[in-house]
């Protein structure tokens, strides 16, 4: 295996050298990297070129190589035609150079992965060592219910196989291990980190690691419980430009970390913040105190949850009616994801990540909630008033 890899690298180097005769370096690297599935053809050209230049036939072959490159560019333009018409060729280029990490693959994250693989990101790395079981199948279309296929395979491995098929231009891979033990440098490789099905402690920890890096890593958490879903976004200090009446306006948004956001005293929040925000914090807090796995609550936990609600409401001087029993019950028993809500939350998250990578469009700050019960998809800004934009 290492031998083969080295061989391939040599061919790539040769290809790069040849390409540099025609285009500048960033472009050459980009082409080379995007043509990886075509390496066999490509290296053949590179080799031919070498032979040809030796014998002085260079011009014809150079022309042939140019055409190869052109074909690749054309293929991409054809594949991404409809979306380039939405966000532009520039954004598409940025997307194709971006690297995404996801952790915790249930239905919602599966939807998200599908969306960004189709959009044509550079690479997607999956982390989830859980073994595939019946429950994992319920809302996740990346797992085909063929027992023989995934015996002993982890969720990440099975989903990786399916995702690769969606778009040959995107590298999808698996990273094994416990994400909380990964060092800060691991996260440096990525532009976007999305985590799901995590404990409160893990969310805080990974968010902190992303924030320690000198480069800006966009951090998202996403969770669906029953007919409800929540997205949290941390883009740190995010600058982007938007067009308004033919003019480009520079905008800047200052995001709090997850820990900072959820520590904002509830009474400091604007009135009519979604009840879902408070309810999710109660459930999250309950799981944290109990040490139970995220999303594995039972209706029997209701008394404990109600007790925690009382405590939190007292500390935050919030009326308990702001977190209705019925809502908490729905969240408690909604341990299985609801596929339509996965599609909706996974779609919104996909759009947000595309916005953050491409720098186009207003990103949401900093929570998004959807409840199929009332059908509203709401943005809430949960930050200290002075950290606003």
């Amino acid at each position: 295996m290492p031998k083969k890899l080295k061989h391939q690298n040599n061919e790539q180097d040769a290809g790069l050298k040849e390409l540099l005769r025609i285009v500048d370096e960033p472009k050459a690297r980009w082409i080379l990297w995007r043509t990886q599935p075509l390496i066999p053809i490509f290296s053949r050209f590179a080799r031919l070129l070498k032979v040809a230049s030796f014998y002085g036939y260079c011009e014809h072959l150079e022309f042939a190589l140019k055409l190869t490159v052109q074909v690749v560019v054309e293929q991409e333009t054809a594949l991404y035609d409809r979306q380039i018409r939405v966000w532009g060729a520039d954004a598409q280029r940025r997307l194709s150079k971006s690297h995404i990490l996801v952790y915790g693959i249930k239905g919602t994250v599966a939807e998200f992965c599908k969306n960004i693989v189709l959009a044509g990101v550079g690479s997607l790395t999956l982390v989830d060592d859980r073994v595939v079981n019946e429950e994992a199948l319920s809302a996740n279309f990346l797992i085909l219910p063929d027992d023989n296929l995934f015996q002993g395979k982890t969720l990440a491995e099975v989903c990786c196989d399916s995702l690769k098929e969606f778009n040959p231009m995107v590298r999808v891979s698996v990273e094994k291990g416990d994400i909380s033990t990964f060092g800060v440098e691991f996260f440096e490789k990525f532009d976007v980190v999305v985590i799901s099905c995590c404990s409160l402690a893990k969310k805080k920890l990974i968010n902190q690691k992303c924030r320690k890096l000198s480069k800006r890593v966009a951090f998202y958490t996403v969770d669906c419980r029953g007919s409800c879903g929540e997205i949290f976004v941390d883009l740190q200090n995010y600058k982007y430009s938007k067009k308004k009446l033919e003019e480009n306006i520079d905008c800047q948004l200052e995001y709090p970390s997850f820990e900072e956001a959820i520590s904002v005293p509830w009474r400091a929040l604007p009135r009519r913040v979604s009840k879902l925000y408070f309810a999710m914090r109660v459930i999250e807090g309950f799981e944290d105190v109990e040490g139970s796995n995220p999303g594995e609550t039972l209706i029997a936990d209701l008394p404990g949850v109600l007790k925690l609600r009382k405590e939190l409401c007292e500390t935050n001087s919030l009326n308990e009616s702001q977190i209705p029993n019925a809502l908490l019950e729905r969240l408690l028993i909604g341990t299985r994801e609801y596929p339509p809500v996965c599609a909706i939350i996974g779609g919104i998250l996909g759009q947000e990540v595309i916005k953050a990578i491409s720098g186009k469009g207003d990103p949401l700050k900093n929570f998004f909630f959807f409840d199929a019960m009332d059908g509203k998809g709401l943005i809430e800004d949960i930050s200290e008033p002075n950290t606003g934009s």
Binding site: D81, R85, N167
Partner: protein, 649 residues
């Protein structure tokens, strides 16, 4: 998570999906995951490369195959034990009649064109089956629920008419790039490569009749003529001579910038042919392409006037050299590379003449082909919302039906905005009994005009039957007697007043579509004169509700042209009764630099294509840009503005 009631409703339901494209793929997947067991799916399309970026059930290897069938196979891999029945067919086929529709508990639309949507709407009304309708454009989308007698039908609000341009704007006074595209596509391209028998207004601006007849055969290719010479002759005629003629009419240019005549010798060297040709051999694809043979690579580059002129001549040359057999039968097709190159070049040269900014081939193709902007995420979200509404329909939770808008920019913190559905429109010509009347010049208008412009275009009928009392004037069907077909064909060419049973002022015509089980009476009123610019049809149907003229205080902000740039904002859940309007932003603002607004995009993409359209499409009328057949995601063109004036349920 779903309640027991929901689960058992889902398990027992038989649903019909119409469309297996962008929304359809997402919808089929979400339905299967949600536990639906019996799904039928109709789609006439086959898979294309540009579908693959979002129609995730399809792979490169499926290109050319039936969408409905491939989608079925892909989803059965995930849920092997459910039943999915695919139909690779047009939903307008007669086998999909009212009885067929009656078998279903709910119909879910993921369609790409107004025609098919109207057709499904009528069948759902006739069969009394609830319909969940949807559409997306870029980041925008919407889902609506239609239940006969309970909520409005899909056609209760008139759809914005397709964007039309006055003939003289196209032929003489273009001011936008789209005018140049329409000119290049519907006039010049049609004149050179299309059916020679069709009327063509290319020279219409010439106010000197003798002059225009003198040039009547300027477009004729003479045998043995040098092809480059021919190309230059056309070039000089349309970009030089015709502009000079137009300039001679000084009245026209009093308040306008004068165009500049362009002659090929001014922008190109004397002899070109030596420069072309040598790269042709290296062409990798089989497609004939002027870009390739000229060494132009990036379709997103904006070419100079010189480059456009070369592409123009080269494309023309290639048509005559490589595709001579097709000349005379060609119609513009956005997937025809050479045609797109020709139209782009011609439009750009004309734009240059009129001081209009030039555009890239990529942009020109989008405008000429009316390509709808589409991304996977919006389709996924919309599909999720469709399933949520479908489940409410199944458990008859009618108080909680919502129409939901998916927005690009939040409105009152909402990206997904639910709105209570509206009552049926009492004057809707489809779902109510509203009487219709038609003003028409009964001596001049032929039955054909009535069939094309009213029965098909306005009433959306596919298999019409027209009766005057007990006598049948016209009928379309599969099993008609030959002699009847001949009589109907003859009737088509007769003026209304000269028909076997004359149609005059006071006549009541009955128009029926048996497949749609849809029938209407039309009172005829004779009228002598019609304003050519304002009433280009030469007839006026009333009782049919035109998009309302805005008299409301709730005027939408900005964008005066738009009829669909406003949204009703949801307040009812906040216990308020009034409705306000929020501005909806430009769709393409972030996109390719085309500055078209949502409303224009959607207007342009509105009706008429598929099935019958080939016969009915009238290329002379400059009525509309062609609609993209393959793209499944259509407009949010529903007239949001008018929504604000209606009562809630």
């Amino acid at each position: 998570m779903a309640s027991q009631e929901q689960l058992s409703a889902i398990k027992g339901a038989k649903v019909l999906m119409v469309g297996a494209g962008g929304i359809g793929c997402e919808l089929l997947k979400t339905l299967a995951l949600s536990g639906f067991q019996d799904i039928h799916i109709i789609d006439m399309d086959t898979i294309e490369v540009s579908n693959l970026n979002r129609q995730f059930l399809f792979r490169q290897s499926h290109v050319g195959q039936s969408k409905a069938k491939v989608a079925r196979d892909a989803v059965l891999r995930v849920r092997p034990n459910i039943s999915i029945t695919p139909y690779h067919a047009n939903v307008k086929e007669s086998r999909f009649n009212v009885d067929f529709f009656k078998e279903f508990d709910v119909v879910l639309n993921g369609l790409d064109n107004l025609d098919a949507r109207r057709h499904v709407n009528r069948l759902c009304l006739a069969a009394d089956v609830p319909l969940v309708e949807s559409g997306t454009t870029g980041f925008l989308g919407q889902v609506t629920v239609h239940l006969k007698g309970k909520t409005e039908c899909y056609e209760c609000q008139p759809k914005p008419a397709p964007k039309t341009y006055p003939v003289c704007t196209i032929t003489s006074t273009p001011s936008k790039f789209v005018h140049c595209i329409v000119w290049a596509k519907d006039l010049l391209f049609a004149k050179l490569f299309g059916d020679k028998n069709l009327e063509n207004d290319l020279n219409v601006h010439s106010n000197d009749a003798a002059n225009s007849s003198e040039h009547s055969d300027v477009f004729e290719y003479r045998k043995d003529e040098d092809i480059e010479e021919y190309g230059r002759r056309i070039y000089d005629h349309v970009f030089g001579h015709n502009i000079e003629v137009a300039l001679s009419n000084e009245e026209t240019w009093k308040n306008r910038n004068k165009p500049r005549p362009i002659y090929s010798k001014d922008v190109l060297p004397e002899k070109l042919s030596e420069q072309n040709g040598n790269m042709e051999k290296g062409c990798v694809t089989d497609d004939v392409s002027a870009m390739a043979s000229l060494g132009l690579k990036n379709p997103q580059d904006v070419w100079s006037l010189g480059e456009n002129s070369r592409v123009f001549l080269e494309a023309l040359r290639l048509f005559f050299l490589k595709r001579e057999k097709e000349i005379g039968n060609l119609t513009f097709d956005k997937d025809d590379q050479l045609a797109v190159e020709f139209v782009t070049a011609a439009a750009n040269i004309r734009a240059s003449s009129f001081g209009i900014p030039l555009h890239s081939l990529f942009e020109a193709k989008g405008i000429a082909g009316n390509i709808v902007h589409a991304v996977a995420t919006t389709n996924a979200i919309i599909a999720g919302l469709i399933v949520i509404e479908a489940i409410k329909v199944l458990i008859k939770d009618s108080n909680n039906y919502r129409m939901t808008y998916c927005l690009e920019h939040p409105s009152r913190k909402m990206l997904l905005m639910p709105v209570e559905p509206y009552e049926p429109n009492k004057s809707c010509y489809v779902c109510s009994e509203t009487p219709l009347s038609l003003e028409v010049n009964t001596h001049r208008s032929k039955l054909r005009d009535f069939v094309e412009k009213i029965v098909k275009a306005k009433l959306g009928m596919n298999f019409p039957l027209i009766m005057q009392g007990a006598s049948i004037l016209y009928e379309v069907g599969e099993d008609l007697e030959e002699d009847m077909v001949a009589i109907y064909a003859a009737n088509l060419e007769k003026a209304l007043s000269e028909l076997p049973s004359p149609v005059t002022s006071g006549t009541v015509l009955t128009v029926e579509d048996l497949q749609q089980e849809f029938s209407r009476n039309i009172n005829i009123k004779h009228r002598e004169e019609f304003d050519e610019e304002k009433e280009p049809d030469g007839m006026l149907l009333s009782g049919w509700v035109e998009p309302p003229v805005d008299k409301d205080k709730n005027k939408p902000i900005g964008n005066g042209e738009s009829t669909s740039n406003a949204l009703p904002a949801e307040e009812s859940l906040e216990a308020k009764k009034d409705v306000t309007i929020q501005e909806i932003s430009e769709v393409t603002e972030i996109a390719t630099g085309t500055k078209r607004k949502l409303s224009e995009v959607s207007k342009g993409t509105t009706p008429d294509h598929s099935g019958l359209s080939d016969e009915t499409r009238n290329h002379n009328q400059l009525e509309k840009l062609d609609v993209d057949d393959e793209d499944d995601e259509l407009m949010i063109s529903d007239d949001w503005e008018s929504l604000t004036k209606k009562k809630r349920l």
